[in-house]
């Protein structure tokens, strides 16, 4: 055993070790600190050796966890000591105990700089190490240039240069604005040629930092990186000391592959090929061996290679090979490899093509849920969660439920949450969803957060079909002994609302329901009592005229709680008692809860929040984020106006908003002041209170404003003449109801669909309309996909087609209702009569809850859809071109303000407009000739010829010549092409006056044919 070489230090450490308990240790430490403090006070008598010894002791004490609030000056001053041992202590201890903003650091900045620029390499190393470990801003400002010089100096030893590289990296990471890296891309290419592996490893780390900030500047380094990787994997010329368990520096291999993951794509086919060869070699040449260290090293490289393959979007074959490898790994004996196999499979899920292959390993992954290692179980859970979709949700959720009973407590909450989220996201049917959540509450009630049971209540409330089923289930659970309190809450709530739907079933009469819930009343907590009271009030309401016996029992309970200490319970008891004496009025006030406004599930939101990872910006991460935002039920509701963040909670009130009829129609007006008092208490309640109990002080408050819209029918009682106050309230509400914002730009979506045949035409928080089209000759068939994004139905769906004069359009029947999350397909048949650029429109309206949404959308049945490209040879083309001589059959125009395009881009544009572009037909390489044929019922096929002459010195202008045998077609086609060349014509947001109106169209002078099409006004939109 070696000793520190400082007697006093060794003695002190030994004393500490001999302490029997923490108290003795503290006494010994205090004594030592006192001693050091006294010695430091009288600094003159202190030898450098003693100083060094005391500073080490301080660091030791600091490591033991004691606060060392003195001696910093002495520590820092050692940095300026002339001799190595003192200087070393000063540097090491300073970097351990001071942070970058410590004032004392300023005192030594000059000394540090002198050490860095001085000739003593050992001093350079010490100084660089401290600066690198602390990385303060002032260091960066004054030292970065000197550190850069050391890195590129040819006279420095590798020992110094590798530290300079990492020191620079640290300064740059912490203060990117201070470190000047201009012109570093050329320098990096040189540095990547470094022969010394120690320096090269550090340089590669620096390179990763630089390239992660600005990929574009470092493209020139890409081939170097691939070369380094090739050399390493081929084991060419690798020094022995950098071979680790037979593997050429795994760290350098890993870092190099990390660097390559920052380049968005590798275009150069040669580099790409060599890189894939290397990757293939790594993937195929790695086996699981006996030696653990060798295994770790070879698999470090292998897993990094997998990450790179994923990043590069390799061919499906290679991806499948990767999944196969991972499938092998998750079943091996070596736990580290099992762990990483599962983790990487989760990452692999982001690659669309291979998800099905991953699903084949589901059984093995489920087995990993029983692994002895909790780290592996967690990975397996993450993977199952990630791979779950509609096809396997039932299996996976059931596995999770099963696992829930045996899982350790540390995992149960996460497990319960994940199961609930998956059940919500992928429920094949809603009754299954209810089953799952009730099972969850039953098995792990303690771990089921309130969000989960609020959500199931929302679902049931919003889906009438589900209500009897959920109530029956709740009733079944109540028969179980030892019920979790959350189960009591949810059962009581559901039975309060819906038990009247079960009335004919055995054990479900109001009396029986009351009796079984009343059994629980004695044992539940204060938070649950209000829910039970509401349930009783509702039971009473549903059994009107009340069974006198039942009524007495319930009144007895209300009376009992009238003087209860908890204000909430007391208030409810008093109110319900008074209300239940009102007879018919009770019916109105306690009527069934209205549907909840559709909103993003707080659970799904939670899930998304935890998935957002800001760490890396690699392509894979970004893709991942895009994916999570696609959750089916996510709706882009405007933020809630009442200011409580998780509004799901506050809106679960039990009692519906009282309608004005109560006041006006009820002969007994005494309710009015009561009501007033209550609503006052509501408005005074702090927002956070809403979270405490879902009933909160909301006894007489309905869902807040966004739930309601201008549609009066949502208030069954509001048919009385509204008072001025009511009118005002309604005006505000209808203002809010216009807030249905389309998602994405409608114009852009339309223009995209003009050039392709499938895509999204429209989307808002409730509905998504997709289009898929097929065209043949002058016929077309569009299918509109109307998708309900919500968990409640869309009703009163109406679709009306407004065709322009030149198109015959026929829409098949659109169903009146779109069920929750369903998609309906509505074929639309189109026939083209003659050439025109007018467009048809779809007038769609639907009702969601009480919100009536009406949109008018242009349909992408446009002129160019009736074109069919024709390839022509020069012999065919020129006679035709000459035959169509001059206006009105051949029109020519100089177009200015063209969106600059290179010829290949322009050729692409013509191709998507359904023209055939024939290169070489025009001898001038700056020109382009395109040919197609146009189909309509009146003209059948008409040949169309187009020539574009571009000016390479000014791409914003060109000369366009269009020729065809039909003058209208020639003109319309020319205008169409112009529109597409000049760029997206930005029409005003979807116009209200979309209905075709006859109106003269301004005619360009070159055209003889006047367009008197009644739909001509629409042309302006295109």
């Amino acid at each position: 055993m070696a000793l520190s070489g400082m007697r006093g230090l060794s003695v002190f450490i030994s004393d500490i070790r001999n302490c029997q308990n923490k108290e003795q240790e503290r006494l010994r430490v205090d004594k030592e600190l006192g001693n050091i403090r006294t010695r430091f006070k009288n600094e003159k008598g202190l030898s450098p050796y003693e100083k060094k010894k005391y500073v080490w002791k301080m660091l030791y004490i600091y490591m033991l966890g004691y606060d060392v609030d003195f001696g910093h000056t002495e520590t820092v001053s050692l940095i300026s000591a002339p001799k190595y041992p003192e200087k070393q202590v000063g540097y090491i201890v300073t970097s351990c105990i001071l942070n970058e903003n410590h004032d004392f650091l300023r005192m030594v900045i000059n000394t540090v700089r002198n050490d860095i620029i001085g000739r003593n390499e050992t001093f350079q190393c010490l100084a660089l190490t401290m600066v690198g470990n602390i990385g303060g801003r002032e260091f960066a400002e004054s030292l970065a240039p000197d550190v850069q010089k050391l890195l590129i100096s040819s006279s420095c030893r590798p020992l110094v240069r590798k530290k300079a590289a990492l020191c620079l990296l640290r300064l740059y990471r912490k203060n990117p604005d201070v470190v000047n890296i201009e012109g570093w891309s050329d320098r990096m290419t040189q540095l990547l040629d470094e022969r010394d592996f120690g320096v090269l490893t550090s340089v590669m780390s620096l390179f990763v930092a630089l390239v992660s900030n600005n990929t574009d500047a470092y493209w020139n380094c890409l081939p170097k990186c691939v070369k380094i990787l090739e050399r390493l994997t081929r084991n060419q010329d690798i020094p022995q000391e950098y071979t680790y368990y037979g593997i050429p520096s795994p760290w350098l291999q890993v870092k190099t592959m990390r660097a390559l993951q920052y380049f968005p794509a590798i275009e150069d086919p040669n580099i790409r090929r060599s890189l894939f060869e290397v990757l293939q070699r790594i993937l195929m040449g790695t086996d699981v061996v006996k030696n653990v260290n060798k295994n770790n090293a070879s698999h470090a490289v292998l897993f990094e290679a997998l990450a790179l393959v994923m990043h590069l979007d390799a061919e499906k074959e290679m991806m499948s090979q990767c999944v196969a490898l991972l499938g092998k790994f998750i079943a091996v004996r070596e736990p580290n490899i099992r762990y990483l196999g599962l983790e990487n499979m989760s990452r692999m899920l982001l690659v669309i093509d291979v998800q099905d292959i991953i699903k084949r390993h589901q059984a093995q992954i489920v087995t990993s849920l029983k692994d002895p290692d909790i780290s592996i179980r967690r990975r397996a859970l993450d993977l199952l969660y990630g791979m779950c979709d509609v096809s396997n949700a039932k299996d996976i959720v059931e596995e999770l439920l099963q696992y829930l009973s045996t899982a350790e407590f540390a995992m149960r909450e996460e497990l319960a949450l994940k199961a609930a989220i998956l059940a919500e996201k992928f429920a094949p049917d809603l009754s299954w969803y209810v089953d799952v959540i009730l099972q969850l509450i039953d098995k792990a009630g303690d771990f089921v957060s309130d969000d989960i049971w609020y959500r199931v209540v929302q679902f049931v409330t919003n889906n009438e079909d589900l209500q009897p089923y959920a109530a029956a289930k709740a009733r079944e659970y109540l028969d179980k002994p030892a019920l979790h309190e959350t189960m009591v809450k949810v059962s009581a709530y559901l039975l309060g609302e819906y038990s009247h739907l079960l009335i004919r079933r055995p054990g479900c009469s109001p009396k029986e329901i009351f009796a079984i819930i009343n059994e629980k009343l004695a044992t539940v907590s204060t938070a649950t009592i209000p829910i039970l009271l509401s349930t009783f009030a509702k039971i009473l309401m549903h059994s009107q005229p009340a069974d006198p016996e039942l009524q007495d029992q319930i009144w007895l309970i209300f009376r009992k709680y009238e003087s209860y200490i908890d204000v909430e319970i007391q208030q409810r008891a008093v109110e319900y008692f008074a209300l239940s004496k009102k007879g018919a009025a009770l019916m109105d006030i306690l009527a069934e809860m209205p549907k909840f406004p559709e909103r993003q599930s707080s659970l799904l939101k939670k899930a998304e929040d935890t998935e957002i990872d800001t760490a890396e910006q690699s392509a894979i991460k970004i893709r991942a984020q895009q994916q999570t935002s696609n959750a089916l039920v996510v709706t882009d509701q405007p933020p809630p106006t009442n200011g409580t963040a998780p509004t799901g909670v506050g809106q679960l009130a039990l009692v519906k908003i009282p309608n004005q009829n109560v006041d006006s129609a009820s002969p007994d007006h005494s309710i009015t002041p009561e009501n007033g008092v209550i609503s006052k208490s509501v408005s005074e309640a702090p927002a956070s209170d809403l979270l405490v109990d879902l009933l909160g002080p909301l006894a007489i408050e309905g869902p807040p404003a966004p739930a309601v819209s201008g549609e009066q029918t949502s208030f069954p009682g509001l048919n009385a003449t509204p008072s001025p106050v009511d009118a005002l309230a309604l005006a505000i509400l209808s203002d809010q109801s216009t807030g249905v914002q389309p998602i994405g730009n409608i114009d852009e979506r339309f223009h995209a669909l003009c050039l392709k045949d499938s895509g999204v035409l429209y989307e808002d928080p409730y509905i998504q309309i997709g289009v898929k089209a097929e065209w043949r000759g002058h016929h077309g068939r569009l299918v509109l996909f109307l998708g309900n994004k919500n968990t409640a139905s869309l009703s009163s769906v109406k679709a009306l087609i407004l065709p322009p004069a030149h198109l015959k359009m026929e829409l098949s029947l659109v169903p009146d209702t779109i069920p929750p999350r369903a998609q309906v397909q509505c074929p639309l048949v189109v026939m083209n009569l003659h050439a025109s650029r007018d467009v048809g429109a779809l007038d769609l309206s639907y009702k969601f809850e009480a919100t009536l949404v009406n949109v008018k959308l242009r349909l992408p049945a446009v002129l160019n859809k009736f074109l069919q490209p024709i390839q022509m040879t020069a012999e065919e083309f020129f006679p035709q071109w000459k035959a169509l001589a001059g206006p009105p059959l051949k029109l020519q125009e100089v177009v200015r303000g063209v969106k600059p395009m290179l010829l290949p881009e322009m050729a692409d544009l013509f191709a998507s407009l359904r023209f055939a572009v024939t290169p070489g037909l025009d001898v001038n390489p700056n020109n382009l000739v395109a040919t197609t044929s146009f189909y309509s019922e009146t003209t059948h096929a008409v040949l169309c010829l187009v020539r574009v002459e571009t000016d390479p010195t000014d791409r914003t202008q060109l000369r366009l010549t269009v020729a065809s045998g039909d003058p209208t077609l020639t003109f319309e086609l020319k205008e169409l092409i112009k529109d597409h060349m000049v760029g997206l014509p930005m029409a005003p947001p979807v116009p209200a006056p979309l209905l075709p109106q006859p109106q003269p169209q301004p005619q360009p002078p070159s055209v003889a044919v006047a367009s008197d099409d009644p739909g001509a006004i629409l042309a302006g939109l295109l």
Binding site: M1, I13, S14, K83, N133, L169, E241, Y242, V254, A615
Partner: protein
């Protein structure tokens, strides 16, 4: 980036703690305590990974190795490769072994200052500095020579040696 390198005994006493993002001393102690809670609950023969995001914050990972009475722990973020970090622990330990000739916990306890010098040759400002234990050894030997040439601590009294061997 490597956030921290921690060596602690299987009883939870820290033997070396290096945080590359400054943490105040109380926080360091808390982190080490909670880390020990995770490590001590892990049985033998499982993987070398455990989740520490609850302790060290988002985007942190941890690998550890258990040697006799010591845990060697590296905490780092997703920019590092887990297995490469595990390899680096191995390099660290192999270097200690060469330095101290069959290293044991006592070597580490009494030479905690030297541990810092060795670690500084392997990890620098949270980045991998050197991966060849031969190269590290060369650098450390040079430091030891410099320390000795400038001063000497004098021989240990017998009483101390006797107490140390407990």
């Amino acid at each position: 980036m490597i956030r921290a390198v921690i060596v602690m005994s299987t009883e939870g006493k820290s033997r070396l703690a290096r945080f590359y993002d400054y943490q105040p001393p109380e926080k360091q102690q808390e982190l080490i305590r909670r880390l020990y809670g995770v490590l001590s609950s892990r049985p033998e023969g499982v993987s070398n990974f455990a989740q520490v995001e609850a302790i060290f914050g988002p985007d942190t990972r941890m690998v550890y190795k258990h040697y006799a009475t010591l845990y060697f722990v590296f905490v780092f973020d997703s920019s590092e490769n887990e297995l490469a970090m595990l390899d680096l622990i191995q390099v660290f330990v192999e270097t200690l072994d060469k330095c101290f000739k069959n290293v044991c916990e006592l070597d580490i306890v009494f030479n905690f200052n030297k541990m810092h010098s060795i670690l500084d040759e392997i990890v620098f400002g949270g980045q991998v500095l050197e991966t060849s234990s031969d190269e590290v050894l060369k650098a450390v030997e040079e430091i030891t020579r410099l320390e000795k040439s400038a001063s000497s601590g004098g021989p240990l009294p017998k009483s101390v040696v006797g107490r140390l061997s407990r």
